[in-house]
């Protein structure tokens, strides 16, 4: 677990514990989550001025409880009895461990599972996870996703209503449901990471970076479930990918492909941690797709140069990965690896099945890969056509600029 120096990191680490204590006491997840968010906003304004309280967790629990009780008082339609019970409860009782005390990791995991409830769409799961478990404010999340704050606030309140309607509760799901529910949690953490990784604008000191946030949450999940190979695999995948972030874009935001990245800028600490984690995990855990993806990135990261990459090993890993999670995106990467080992014609042959898929045929990545393989084969005219189509289909400005540049290179004599 990381140790945090600054106040904001501290209260964000405390969020799941505070929310866990409030939900256990008052029952309703949705209302408790609003109260905790208000307590975090109060901490944001008061701590910098008045200094950090001696017991920050107790402070947050007290403030959140008061907000919740105030809220219930103002809501005349509420059951009076509930309010009375809440008012009588001394704060000490909330702060002290309950008789059925659970450790803090339990709360984080229970919250992650609840926020990634199957009744929600992925965008709602992401928003709720970042707020309820990550301790981010609605405004911070809205900025990270370039959305109006009102849109995001509505998404979160709808997500909580959907969980309530679906009967979701603050408790670990029954054991038979857990593997599927865990898969959803890992997918949400993976999506949060990717969202942050794709962002090319310079780091803004006032904003959190979603890759670091995803790593922080995945570390918490890994600390709670150290014997889950896929949690470990996802954490390793994030660390090994995050290591390359300093080299992936030029100062003007232009994307630098893996083969051309300045490897001296890769973060060696992240690589060492990621390699150790995935290497260890592969020795004991049942194999899974996140572990395989982490292993692939590890092979890339350990190569001293693009030319020194062990493509034979990467190809073997993609063959396994495609067996676990067949799909067009895995097929694209698999085809590139096949081309690096057996030549571009093999790679191109692997793409044929995707060309018959009408949705895939409109996806820029298929044409970007075809362009790359045709260029390798020396057919620059055909490569130009593919890069040109890929650039037209792209819906990301930096990706479009990159593909346009590749097309222009092929047009040049």
């Amino acid at each position: 677990m990381t140790t945090n120096n600054n106040a904001e990191d501290l209260w964000r680490d405390l969020t799941p514990q505070v929310l866990g204590a409030i939900v256990r006491r008052y029952g309703d997840f949705g209302i408790a989550e609003d109260a905790v968010q208000e307590a975090l906003l109060a901490a944001a304004t008061q701590w910098p001025k008045q200094g950090r309280p001696d017991n920050p967790k107790a402070w947050l629990i007290t403030v959140a409880s008061r907000r919740l009780v105030d809220q219930r008082r103002s809501d005349q339609a509420r059951d009076r009895r509930e309010v009375d019970v809440a008012l009588k409860a001394p704060t000490d009782e909330l702060v002290a461990p309950a008789a059925d005390a659970v450790d803090d990791g339990d709360d984080t995991m229970t919250l992650l599972l609840l926020c990634c409830h199957p009744a929600l769409t992925p965008p709602s799961q992401i928003a709720l996870t970042l707020r309820a478990v990550g301790g981010l404010t609605t405004a911070q999340i809205a900025r990270a996703f370039l959305l109006p704050e009102a849109t995001l606030a509505q998404r979160i309140s709808r997500a909580k209503a959907s969980i309530r309607k679906a009967g979701g509760r603050f408790e670990l799901p029954p054991p038979p449901e857990r593997p599927d529910r865990m898969r959803a949690v890992l997918h949400v953490l993976y999506l949060i990471f990717n969202e942050g990784y794709a962002a090319t604008e310079g780091p803004d000191l006032h904003d959190v970076h979603l890759t670091r946030e995803a790593i922080r949450l995945t570390r918490q999940a890994h600390a709670f479930l150290p014997r889950d190979g896929e949690v470990a695999g996802l954490l390793a995948l994030m660390l090994l990918t995050e290591a390359r972030r300093p080299a992936r874009a030029r100062p003007d935001g232009a994307l630098v492909p893996l083969a051309e990245q300045d490897r001296s800028r890769w973060d060696q600490e992240f690589i060492a941690e990621g390699v150790e984690l995935i290497t260890g995990t592969l020795t004991w855990a049942p194999l899974g797709p996140y572990q395989l993806q982490a292993a692939i990135v590890a092979v890339h990261d350990e190569a001293g140069s693009a030319e020194g990459t062990d493509w034979q090993q990467i190809l073997g890993l993609y063959q396994l990965l495609e067996r676990f999670t067949p799909g067009p995106m895995v097929r694209l990467s698999h085809a590139v690896a096949a081309a690096m080992v057996h030549g571009p014609d093999d790679g191109l042959a692997m793409l044929r099945s995707l060309e018959d898929d009408s949705r895939m045929n409109r996806h820029h990545r298929l044409h970007a890969v075809r362009g790359h393989l045709l260029e390798m084969a020396g057919d620059r005219d055909a490569a130009y056509d593919e890069y040109d189509l890929a650039a037209r289909l792209a819906t990301s400005i930096p990706e479009q600029n990159y593909l346009r540049g590749k097309a222009d290179d092929c047009a040049r004599e």
Binding site: T121, P122, P123, S124, A127, F145, L146, L147, P148, T151, L152, A153, Q154, R155, I156, S157, R158, A159, N194, E195, Y197, A198, A199, T200, E201, R248, A249, L255, V256, P257, L258, Q261, R365, A368, H372, A394, T395, S396, I397, P398, E399, Q400, Y402
Partner: protein, 131 residues
């Protein structure tokens, strides 16, 4: 992923909701008018409640359009729209949704989709992944 949803219409007289003022819209039975108006209201409420709506606007009569051109550093402002067409843009929405299929489904629920057409265009993202 964000999508711009453009609502095209060909109303006899300008106003909102636009589909009621098209030739076909005016011949609808009272119950059909009520049903389609309700369908539109329900859609807008749903987009707000789901947290998918980023922006939405009904546009003024193209009579109010001004088209601006700068030629040799001088602005030339003319009355009327840039593109003269029978079908006019009556309104627009920006939605942020999970899949392109969802965006197409939303587009199909605007009553104008039945009388003229609704166009869905992805909004370019400023982030991207290296290849």
């Amino acid at each position: 992923m964000k999508y711009l949803i453009l609502i095209y219409s060909r109303p006899e007289t300008w106003g909102h909701p636009s589909f009621l003022r098209t030739t076909e819209g005016q011949t609808l039975s009272e119950s059909e008018r009520t049903r389609l108006t309700g369908q539109l209201e329900e859609l807008i409420t749903e987009l707000h409640e789901s947290g998918e709506i980023v922006a939405g606007a009904a546009l003024a009569d193209p009579l109010n359009s001004r088209t601006v051109r700068v030629r040799e550093d001088a602005a030339i402002v003319t009355d009327g729209p840039y593109v003269e067409a029978k079908e006019q843009m009556a309104g627009l929405f920006i939605v942020d949704c999970a899949t392109p299929e969802r965006a197409e489904q939303i587009a199909g629920r605007f009553p104008e989709a039945r009388f003229s057409a609704v166009e869905v265009r992805p909004v370019m993202e400023s982030s991207g992944e290296e290849m």
